[in-house]
Symmetry: C2
Subunit: 245 residues, 2 copies
Amino acid sequence: MSPMTTLSTTGQVFGVGLGPGDPELLTLKALRLIQQAPVLAYAAAEGVPSFARSIVDSHLRGLDAKVEIPMVMPMVAERFPAQEVYDQGATEIRSHLNAGRDVVVLCEGDPMFYGSFMYLFGRLNGAFPITVVPGVSSVMACAAAAGWPLVARNDAFRVLPATLDDDALRQQIDSAEGLAFMKVGRHLARLKVLLREAGLIEHAVYVERASLPNQRVVPLMALDEDRAPYFSMVLVHCRGGAHVL
Amino acid sequence: MSPMTTLSTTGQVFGVGLGPGDPELLTLKALRLIQQAPVLAYAAAEGVPSFARSIVDSHLRGLDAKVEIPMVMPMVAERFPAQEVYDQGATEIRSHLNAGRDVVVLCEGDPMFYGSFMYLFGRLNGAFPITVVPGVSSVMACAAAAGWPLVARNDAFRVLPATLDDDALRQQIDSAEGLAFMKVGRHLARLKVLLREAGLIEHAVYVERASLPNQRVVPLMALDEDRAPYFSMVLVHCRGGAHVL
């Protein structure tokens, strides 16, 4: 069988970014592909509804039911990213692709930016045609929510997982004009100490659940709690949020 | 006049991200606001059609004509970002807001990420209600075009304007797992030298006009030319583009 025949008879994979949570922040392309897809795959944490699936819920109403492939992650931090779950998901996805059905993988935010899609991409790339549809990243959504210019002109920008250890964070906090800390969660107290130490805490804003109805924006200085939900971020600019004014 | 009265009688500003260029990468929210807006403002370079305006062109067909405020930037690098052009644009925008008309500012990519919207934001913030609608950034669009996972797990990520000088770039290239170089343009040759020096050129991909019909993706090693168009980017990962496989 020639490659062209393969392309025309197997299904395609679409890794589709959904944006930060507001169903209206889907792109037109994401909406079209999701509504047309016969099969949807998405990650979910054990015991709670899939956030990715919830973002598209309102867009599926009134449409014929689709085949859905939830990839349920065990809630044991040590086993994350649960390679076996992705192995199993990829096997199920392959069977649909081989039967000629396209599969849309729903991805919170953007698929290639700290996204779980990359684990499927790694398993399927080369064997099937894959199209990645970029989405609005939570970094940009947090900046929009906070009215916070991230970077301008010749600024350097860094995105840092707050899960890095103190020394790694200290080293990275230096010498960038703009910073975004992802995965703040239980690292919030530690992050406050490090930013105070670096003289940056007055130039930092905390954003929780950007674009969702319960979105919250607080100057980091004014934030009392020491733990944050998983969907939270701290944005910093060395000249503060008004740096371009 | 009480602030509430002001809010209800003046118009609102919407800084709307349009994404990287494909009109289908607008968000649903962007499309709704643009189609409803009585007034559109956008930046344009002298002598060429506005890229931002061209992205929404197909979405305005069949609608009533809108008031349009092009902010035309003189093509003299030394005067960029042409503060007088934004002063004048802001004055025109204010007159519509004071007359109760909403104004949508069209922003390529995302408004708060190296975007020209920030100059208007600085001029209008505090005086009028401003809503920022995040958009798909060119960073994510380039990664999607190249099938290039940007960062995963605990990776640190940096975005660097290629306009920085050699020493600044050298210092920043160290110690981040993922890198994106913006504004590559006439700095391409220099960037190749710096990445070869850092042992990273084999782990870099060049992307031009992501999401547009003339999009181009080339491994940086295989790229002959020494200058690139303005809308181009170089993505690097210290373990290469297959780092999550």
